[in-house]
Symmetry: C2
Subunit: 377 residues, 2 copies
Amino acid sequence: MYISGIGRTEFGFSKQSLPQLIYKAIYEAIKDSPISIEQIDAIFVSNFLSGLCDNQLHLNSIVSSLLPELKIPIIRIETACSSGATALYQSLISMPHYRNVLVVGVEKMTHVDNIKLTGHIASASDRTLDQEQGLIFPANYALIAQQHFQRYNSTHEDLVLISYKNHQNANLNPLAHFNYKKVTMEMIENAPLVAAPLTLFDCSPISDGAAALVISDKRTSSRDIEIIGMGIGTDFISLSQRKELTSFEATKIAAKKAYDMAKVGPEDINVAELHDCFTISELISMEDLGFCKPGEGKYLVREKRTMIKGDIPINTDGGLKANGHPMGASGISQVYEIVMQLRKEAGKRQVQNANLGLSHSLGGIGGTSVVHIFRGE
Amino acid sequence: MYISGIGRTEFGFSKQSLPQLIYKAIYEAIKDSPISIEQIDAIFVSNFLSGLCDNQLHLNSIVSSLLPELKIPIIRIETACSSGATALYQSLISMPHYRNVLVVGVEKMTHVDNIKLTGHIASASDRTLDQEQGLIFPANYALIAQQHFQRYNSTHEDLVLISYKNHQNANLNPLAHFNYKKVTMEMIENAPLVAAPLTLFDCSPISDGAAALVISDKRTSSRDIEIIGMGIGTDFISLSQRKELTSFEATKIAAKKAYDMAKVGPEDINVAELHDCFTISELISMEDLGFCKPGEGKYLVREKRTMIKGDIPINTDGGLKANGHPMGASGISQVYEIVMQLRKEAGKRQVQNANLGLSHSLGGIGGTSVVHIFRGE
């Protein structure tokens, strides 16, 4: 299966409506693909919070309204922050029935009051075990960071390096939320605490945006990127139910499936997009995906190996941290970036000799994890 | 593909939590099937409003928490009130990859304030075109009823007959929301107006409940029911965008696909479950599914042909009207009833010579429509 077209909006603060964002991403993806909109056989739309943020569910019918000539299956997928990656996964599972499928993800959140929005986002965690205890997302990931620091002697300085790298990368990505912003090491080191040890620059922002992919069962042009591996894993929704806090079982399950299917290993990956909703999750995910042993992610960071010129560049688009994190779109925009890299169209942030790419997306605190592997020419 | 197990909870007012309802339905379906829970390869969970009613999204991870030994793909599907039927559709689309799949749908709403809940349910309609105009669901379906009465000379008395039939059927269904309630023609005829011409007894109730199905790629026992046809259609989300108010284009699309795949026609169907969120939608759906010509549904009703002893019995479980309408579960409980009928296990409400069954589910005001066709032995 191939990705024959990619499209996305700018991420950040948008005045466009949810349907307008969806339309823009679809338009860009179709424009980018040799496949026309009339050749699309089904659409998967991913979104996390439009019910809570806009009292707008039934997005599949919203998409149908935008494309009235198409009377095709359109289905909404939701698995919290991994909704986009899950929609891609489910579209690939469905491909024996279709020739071309469109996957589009969207989120619009910046218009919502911050305190309310924090509560909305907490809907990805367990109502009784987490929400009623006040265990919002920064607090959950702070617990994980504390455990990781204790167990492996990783430090907050490692997270600072991750944040700095991702902001530098976003400066090279014109569509990134923080493309405009020059962030220095000093700014990150002096950032206000959010939930110890995590500071403001450890946390991904609230962003609006949409992204879309055209998936085709046959190669449509030399710019197509092949999808060679996929996996999804699920786990307990609450940290309180788990034995292990310093890695995500769901990622290990998803990664094993994806590597086995692709017949490659982590050592073969040239460029990767990892789910850095918080910097600590980039660190842990490097370990869960096998880019290094457990606890050794810090060395990859310190040795600059995850920077664009390193041997395993991670989050070249700026990651969720600096590219932005419109949840329903994030898992799809990660794939957008991998396709740009494998096509050698990533411009100033191009990774040299990028042939195999990987994308990784988390729902909640690792209650869902999705991994895809891609091959360029 | 076969349905090898079915399970559901009682519908109505429940004190059980969302996860408890899910667990109960899964437990019953697995108990009913020769397939064990360890043999399940993937789960599709359908729900419409748990984000708005309980601030609980990421239900796939909730299901994973209930079944911690299974580290399998679990995905949430949402298409408003047709979520359950769409989850079944998507599970069937996915079957080339799996041997056994579980589909579970759930809704818990009765604890929510009625005015708030009316707003939540309106999230299935367009925020700008419908919600901001105050066009809540009873109003939308009232507009449709008015148009149908004008165009075809159908009357409110036809809707009264539909409501009466469904309440009578629910009296024969121990799991139905209104199983306990004796409803007379006088009660229905004298019911208070909700949105002219629709009265209280034209509207389905607010119900809690869950339902589940085990889908298997091969026959597992003589009680299995084969799924021989499926179709999904989508349409504009708002009535204001459509040319036609007295039928649903999405149903016609879904029905044609399902009939073509099953190689049967409407005249071959022995028993059907139709989406009667309002009595008018049962009438219109009979016509859209081809059980009669447009405008002639009223004759089927008046001639008692849709009653259990008629030649095309509809909503033998009481329908959404009287069995109840826990949205995320409704499309699945419809299939539960068809399986009971085709297995000849429906007891007092058993349809004689039921061999071919059909289920039909609507999202919103027909923005989504899903049809499945089933064959017994």
